[in-house]
Each structure stands twice: as C-alpha cells, then as structure tokens.
Symmetry: D2
Subunit: 303 residues, 4 copies
C-alpha cells in the first residue's frame, strides 16, 4: 500500500533540488520582537530606507507593552545575511530587538515523522510535489515497520525506528538520524508517540505537531472517541509547536467540521482527516514563510 508513498517521497527530492534556483535572493523578510517604545517603526524603516530597501509587506502587533513586527522588502544590493545582521546591530542594541531574518522564497528542509495514518504525510508530499509548499523533505522516520521495506528502495531516506526498546533507545536513534541531516524544522504527521523533554532539547529545532482534536478539548490518544462520547457538534484539529507537556504547546491553527448524531466514530475519524491535513499544511507554510512568533504560549500569525 505504500508504493505510492515511496514514489512520492522520491519524487519530492528531485523536484525540490531543482527548485532552489528559483529563489528570489534579493527579497528578505524579518520578524522582530522587543519592548514597545516610541520610534521603533520609524527607526527600522529609516534603517531599511538607508539600505535602498523597498518595503512590500509590514505587519505589527502590540501586546503587554511588547512590540512585534514582520517586515518584507526588496533590495537591489547584494548584501548578505551576515552583513545585514551586522549593520542592524546598533538598532538591535538600542531597542533590545530579537530578530529572525530570512530570504523570502528560499526552500526549507523538513524532516517528517509518521505512524500508520498516512493522510497528513501524503498531503504534504503532494503539496511539495506540485510546488504548493516550498519544502525539501530530507527524511521520513516511522515506528511502523511495514513502511520501511518499501521506502528503502527510494531516494528519500526512510528510517524505521521501533518503540519497543523503550523511549530512551527510540529517541536516541531518532536523534542520530536527525543529526545526519540538516533540517530547518520537523513535522509530526500524525506521529503517535510522546516525545520527552530531553528529546525536544536535543532536537534543537522547532517541531510542529498535528493533534486530532480542537484543543484544549480531548488531549491524548483517543480524541474522536471522547468527542463522540461528549456529544460535541463540531470536531476539530489543531496544529501546534511541540513543548514538553503533551498537547499544550502554542497553537498555530485550528479548524472544525460539523458533525451530526448519525455520524459514528469511524465517520468522525474520516471527516477529521480533512481538518488534520488542513491545519498541518497551514502550520508548515506559515513556519517556512517566517510568519510565526511564539509569545507566552500563544502564536502571532502574520498574514
């Protein structure tokens, strides 16, 4: 059943490797966060103006006397990221800026984990293959063996890492794989295994999870069963950054679908898959476009 998957995985690799040349190297975007003060926007736009930049997107948000901004601009100059960061040091110190700078349009490298439900994985692979998502999938890790035999024949690295030897062994092996690849972030495409705090620290990159409920309702492994028991009229899905507490991380996106009393748990799971795919792909897109800021366990999601 996973021949399709294997081929998609292989395919993505080819596509994405050729895609990098399309990047627009002169378009940058930057997220900043700092304590709110008069004159920040003025000073930053003044700084960009002095570099010959033309601002094409600007969004800001103020909350609790904190200032957040995403700004995107075009420049004709061939200023490198390092040069830019050096030049902005003065402002950084003046306002105590936290900065996340990015080349707009650059492809990002993604590692994927999955268990036996494949709809989120297939959706991301499909969106990569058709250029709907500008990502390169570097590897797929699964705790389900039947996927392994198929994927090994293909060009995208696949790793079967079972969980029966215990969490420590399992996570060590995952980390070994992760260290062999340079990825920008990781997506848990319906990966049904809880990851420890140690693992998260060692991962040293953001991890996006999709949970199959409308959080904070129905945390844990059986949300559709619990939603059915409670008799809710809408079922949801949530994508969030992973933190140490299960299903407690900052929420990135949520969607719901209407259900009826005539829908049984099997129907709920089927309908829920559409929501899961949607929130997972949304989170990946926003993350790779550098449009997410985490503040106090909430996310700021720029347009």
């Amino acid at each position: 059943m996973n021949l399709a998957l294997v081929a998609l995985v292989k395919n993505i690799k080819n596509v994405v490797e050729n895609k990098l040349i399309f990047c627009d190297m002169n378009t940058f975007n930057m997220i900043i966060a700092c304590p709110d003060k008069k004159g920040i926007i003025y000073d930053i736009t003044s700084f960009l103006f002095s570099l010959g930049a033309n601002i094409i997107e600007l969004e800001q948000h103020i909350e609790d006397s904190m200032f957040f901004m995403r700004i995107k601009w075009q420049m004709n100059s061939s200023l490198s990221k390092d040069d830019f960061l050096q030049k902005i040091q003065g402002l950084q110190q003046k306002f105590n800026l936290t900065i996340k700078l990015d080349n707009s349009g650059a492809s990002k490298k993604l590692g994927l984990f999955c268990s036996k439900e494949l709809h989120c994985l297939i959706d991301v692979l499909g969106k990569a293959a058709t250029n709907e998502l500008n990502i390169s999938i570097e590897y797929v890790i699964s705790n389900h063996k039947n996927v392994q035999s198929l994927v090994e024949k293909f060009n995208i690295p696949f790793f079967y890492i079972p969980t029966k030897k215990g969490s420590f062994q399992h996570e060590s092996e995952c980390l070994k794989v992760m260290n062999n690849y340079q990825t920008d972030f990781i997506g848990l495409a319906r990966y049904m295994k809880i990851l420890s705090g140690d693992f998260l620290q060692n991962a040293q990159q953001k991890i996006i999870n999709v949970h199959h409920s409308f959080l904070p309702s129905f945390i844990g492994a059986n949300p559709y069963e619990e939603a059915y028991e409670r008799g809710v009229k809408l079922i949801g899905a949530t994508s969030h950054y992973v933190t140490e507490e299960l299903d407690q991380g900052p929420i990135i996106e949520q969607v719901v679908r209407r259900i009826k009393h005539s829908h049984n748990i099997k129907n709920l799971k089927l309908m829920g898959k559409e929501s899961e795919k949607e929130v997972f792909a949304f989170a990946i897109r926003k993350h790779l476009e550098n449009k997410l800021i985490v503040y106090k366990n909430r996310t700021i999601v720029f347009e």
Copy 2:
C-alpha cells in the same frame, strides 16, 4: 438602557397571543424511542396509514440497538392528542415505545432568565416579535436590579430575584414565579448563576442554557479569558440542556468564529456574542419543533 427591552417584552406578548389561531391543528409530529427490532417502521407507518395519515417527514436513527424516529404527518380527521395516544397504546406496549407527541405549528410558552448581558434576550425577543420563533414569552427573571424598574411598567411579567440571600432563597423565589406560569420550557439567556440539582428537579421542565465557550473547553465563568490565555484560534459557543453538573449537559448546538492574535479579550467577547445568540436561538427552535432527543448525554437533532 432597558427601555428597548421593556417594549420588546411587552410587544411579544401581544403578538404571540394573536398568533395561536394560525396553528395548523391537523398536522402532528411524534418522536419515538425504543429498542431496535425488525418491523418498527412498518408497524408505525401501517398504524398511521390506518388513521388516514399522510406522512410528510420521517427521520430515523439507530444506535446501540436503540431505535429513534421523528415522524410528521397530516390528517383530515379531528382526532385529539388523547385519542391518538390511546389508539397507539398497543404498539407502545409491543415495542416498548417512549413517545413525545406534538401539534406541529403550535406556539410554545417560554420562561426566560437573564443576568446583565442582554444580547441573547434581545435576539430571542426580536425573533418572537417578527415571528421568526413561534413562542410566547411568559416571564423574565433576572438577578440584576436595574432591569426590574423598567420592566415592571410593561405587560410581560418581570421578576427581579437577587442572589444575595443565598442560593436556597433565590431558587425558592424563582420556583414560585415558575409555578405561577404554565411554560413548556425555560431558556437561560446568559444567566450567570449556577442552579442546584434540587431546583432542576422542581422545575419539572427542560431548561436550555447557552455557554460562552466551545464545550468541553473552558467550563465556568470566564471562558473568553481562558480561551485567550490558551491561544485558541477559534472561539465558540454551546447551547445545551441543563443538568446537575455545571456545563456537562447534552449539547444541542455549537458554532465557532475565527479569531486572530490581534483580537484582545474584549474583541473575543464581542465576536462571541454572535455565536451565543445563534446557538441559543437554534436550540429554542429545535426544542419547540419537537426535534430533540437526549440519549446518553448526547442529543439527536432531527432536521
């Protein structure tokens, strides 16, 4: 600020009292529940056929070997409700039927409780005034004094029943009012006072509540504050039948609205009001149309 309310309340009474003559006395609907068995639909439709009935709506639902059905029909005969119930006794015993029979189109009498938020109250009053809901509002009870002085001048009875003398005293006074009016059911239009199990038993009628969150998330008094803290991306509202445990009753309807990081708690409350009105009016409509069955703390909601 409540002159408007007063006038609406008065107005509804006039309207509804004249409205009853429009009822179509020869259209009935009936909800039945019983253990599932071969031949139920056949026997019931056969029974109705023998009475000269023409079935115009039929919905059924099977779950856990239980059979549920709503059936609506027209008859030319002038059979009364009591006659009908007597005639169906044989079937009732054969299948162990629970039956709820109703004249379709008959207006229902509603008692309303509210606190200081008036949007749900105004919406229901408006829908009654414009015939969007076929109800007569018999009284309004509130624990907020400022409403009292205004409403007393008008024809719809208004009762200010404060909560400071303690729950027992408060609930006794409410029950006294309720006993003086014959209502079919009660609506809690954002009534911010927990009602005891004793009260619910003595009320002897269904009570519909609107809770300002997407249950089971954010039970209790401050759901918008908690939703903001958790950083959810959709805020919801839920209408449900009241049971002894707070916000745990069978859910009738839920809707959500999308929020953004730029929305503060005040914005959430404002947006949430639209959802609250929608689920409250929906629940009232379905209840008065005899389209709701409670089974195992869930609702079956017929179309």
Copy 3:
C-alpha cells in the same frame, strides 16, 4: 408588531447621546492612499514621531504600485484635527497622499432606511442599545406605512416616505429628511427600493447596503427563490457600498450558511436573515472604525 421597534429606536437615542463623553480624544487613526514609493512608511512614522505620537496599530497594503495604510496612534498633545491636517500638508504633497483622519472611539451618526423586513434594523438598534456599536441613529425612513404610526410616538425621528408617487418624488422627500440631519453615513437595512444615480450623488455620504445573496450570484429582488431553483448548497449575504449599478458596488463582507435539499424557500429566508444581520453589522462597524478603503470596486478591509 412594531412597538418594540419604536422603543428600541427611542432608547438608542438616549444611550448614544450620553455615550459621546467616553471618547478618547487623544487617539487618532488615519487611512492614507498614494502611489507606492520608497520611504513612505519612514516619512510618515517620522512625522508622527516628531509629534510625540506612539503608534499602536499599523497595517499596510500594496497593490498595482499603489500604497495603502491605516495607522492608529496616541498623543498627549491637544492637537486638533485641523492643526494635524495642516502639519501633514508637506508630506501630503510629497507623496500625493489621500488622507482620511478620524478620532478613534468617536461615535458616528447613522441614518437608516428599511422596508418591511425588520431583522437587520432590530439587530443594529440592539447593538447600539447595548453599546456593541458606537453609533447614534438619527432617523429611520421606511416605505412601509404601518411602521409610521408607531414610530411617531417616539423620540427617534421616523419618516414614512411611500414610493407610489414615483422615484423622483420619493427620492426628493428622502433627501429633504437627510438634509435636516447631519449623519456620517447611511445604512440600508433591507431597503427594497432601487436608488437612482442622482440620489446617490445628492446624498453626499457613503451608503451601505445588505443584499440577501452571495454576490455576484442572484442580483435583484428574489435571490432566495433563485438560489433554490439553482440548487446551491450554501446561501449567502453580502454587504457593500451602494453604487449606481444595482448590487455592483464594492463588497465589504460576505458570509454563507449551509443548506440542505430538505430546506424550502421559507427555510432559506429564515436562515439567510442571520447572515444578513452579520454582514450588515460588520460593514457598519468597519466603516465607523475608519477601516475601509475602496480601490477599483474592491474594498481593503483593515483588521
């Protein structure tokens, strides 16, 4: 049936007249539009900085080499609107700015037109009465006589202006009323009469209409009937600025609701009312918060 309406109308007046004192006079917002050029944001934020302003909201949009921005700020100084506009003249000329400046939080004066469907009118009156909308309703004009007799008894001016003497006469009388009141804008709360180009020119203010379909589908007087005939699965409502061509003006908001084959035209109309109220109130709110720009028959709707 319209006693309620009358009371609501009267009530709003009282409420709103007392509400003006709550305005925060030192918070301003400004919408600007101009050809896109390097340095606009820098120059404008620099200008505001020089006045001692603290920017609390800023949104911008670029399209077709046009630049649009909404900016909201606080100032301790007691600069008047006129003083401000004089000071910004230099920038205005430099960038060829179109400016719309407003006191944030100031109440707006609204004139309302309605025909016989009252749900949009009641909703806006209710939102004004409960301070959900910061508006003062100055008058209500209707082409339905039965409303007149009731409303005359109350403090909000009501004008019955029939349409039987022809469009010219009807519109002249409306304009006479409008000239006697200073309103900021007009809302057509399901007003079922087409207004001429001459009328629109003479009105000299923005007019917001709610159309009971998902435009551009089902233009004209019978959208629910047409939607039913076509068998659509969602029915919608649209609020838009009125222009000379019927239902062709710039769309402000649209919402839809799901329907089923079991819903007849009467059901559609009932469900549609909820959508109509929602888009109409949304448009009024955005307009009074100075968050709408019309560009090429489309609207820019700031958050």
Copy 4:
C-alpha cells in the same frame, strides 16, 4: 514530477482489486422516487419486512408532490439483485417507482480525466490508496502530454489524448478508451476541456465535475481572476453532475474559504485548491454510496 502520480495510480489498482472481498454482500441500499401517495413508506417497509430485512437507515424527502427515499437494510438471505428487483415489481407498478438498488459496501469503478492541475487527482488517488474512498481507478485520461510518458510505465492505464485535432476527434478517442473499460462513473479532476452533448450521451454514465468557483458565479475558465476583480470576500468550489450547458449541471457540493484584500490571484488559486479537493471527493463518495438523486437540476443528498 509525475513519478509520484504514476506510482500512486499503480498502487491504487493493487489495493482496490484486493479490497472487493471485504464487501458486505448482505447489506443493500436503494433509492426510490415516485409521485407522493399515502402508504408508500408502509408498503415498502412491509415488503422489506416480508423478506426478513432489518432497516438500518431510512431517509425520505417530499417536494412538489414527489416522494424520494433512501433505505438501507440487512438481510441474512442470499437474495440476488435480480431476484430482489423481480420481487419488488408489484410495488414498482403500483407506485410508479424509479429504483436504484445497490450492494452497500461494494467498490465502484471510476475513470478519471485531468489536465495539468494535479491536486484533485492526487487527492482521490491518496484517498483510494488509504481506503478512504472505496473505488478502483480504471484509467486516467489527460490532454497534457508530459503526464503520458510517465504513466505508461505503470499498471494503471493512462491515455494522452490531445485536443489539437479538434473536439470531435478528441472526444471519439476518449469514448474509445471509455468503451474498453467498465466504469460506474467518471470524475473530471480539473479537466479543462468542454465536453459536447454528443459525448455526454455516448458516455452512458454519470460524470462528476469540479468547478473552481462558487457557482453560479464565475462560470468558465478563469473564475479566480473574475472573483478577484469583483472583490468577493469568500472563494468557493463546486462539484456537480455534468450536463450539456457549461457549469449548469445539478450541484452536489459547495464549500468556500475566506480571503482578504492582501491575497492576490495566486493566493486565491492556492487556497481554492483545498476547496476543490474537498467538494470533488465529497461528490465521489456520495455517488458511490448511492446517496444522490437529481430532481429538476437540483440534487437530493442523503446523509
């Protein structure tokens, strides 16, 4: 880029061919339509009762004095479809029934057409591969050559049929392919070529199309461009049965997604793909579950 597609296509074939053994041969469903008359439900349930059937789903709809019903039942007997149809002949004549009988759970054979947009195709292939849709894809026809070279290597038949030789030639070749395969229905997965009335007649099976707008708005080839120009605030997608007039067939499903002024046409197309996939898969599922009736260019969609 289409290796993935090829593998998926191949894979589906294997999966589906093995899936048929899971069909529950003793569960049937039947759609009937006839002029409304007293006693239909009684007679039909009586008939099924006499065969020892246990009804597990029953939905009915009455409109314009027409009666429509879907009924699903289980029987222990090994009655064949032909036997059943013979036994029901008496009722069929009595009520003038139109009947569509089906084995519930039986897999259906589907032919797919696509052009260069692959998201709907990939989605359906993915849903078949993961058993979300109980279908066997018998062939894929495309008017885009680059797909051909890849798909020929795989087990699912692929046919490149260009349109440059004219409609007649193109359609003849398509019909030749279609005649070589026994399919239950055809899906146009974003097939951007208008099919003639002659073709439709010769196809002799239902054809489901997905149109990338909220019909009846924006008929034709460039709906997203037109939606952008008109400034709508929601963009939609529609699945419908194909009829001779372009985009005028009976609508099966519609969904919309909210857009903002900051979204350009490219964004609209990207967001719209999610809606297109959703309505297309919905229509395929409902059709294969025998839950669709066409009446007067509208669809009755049973739950």
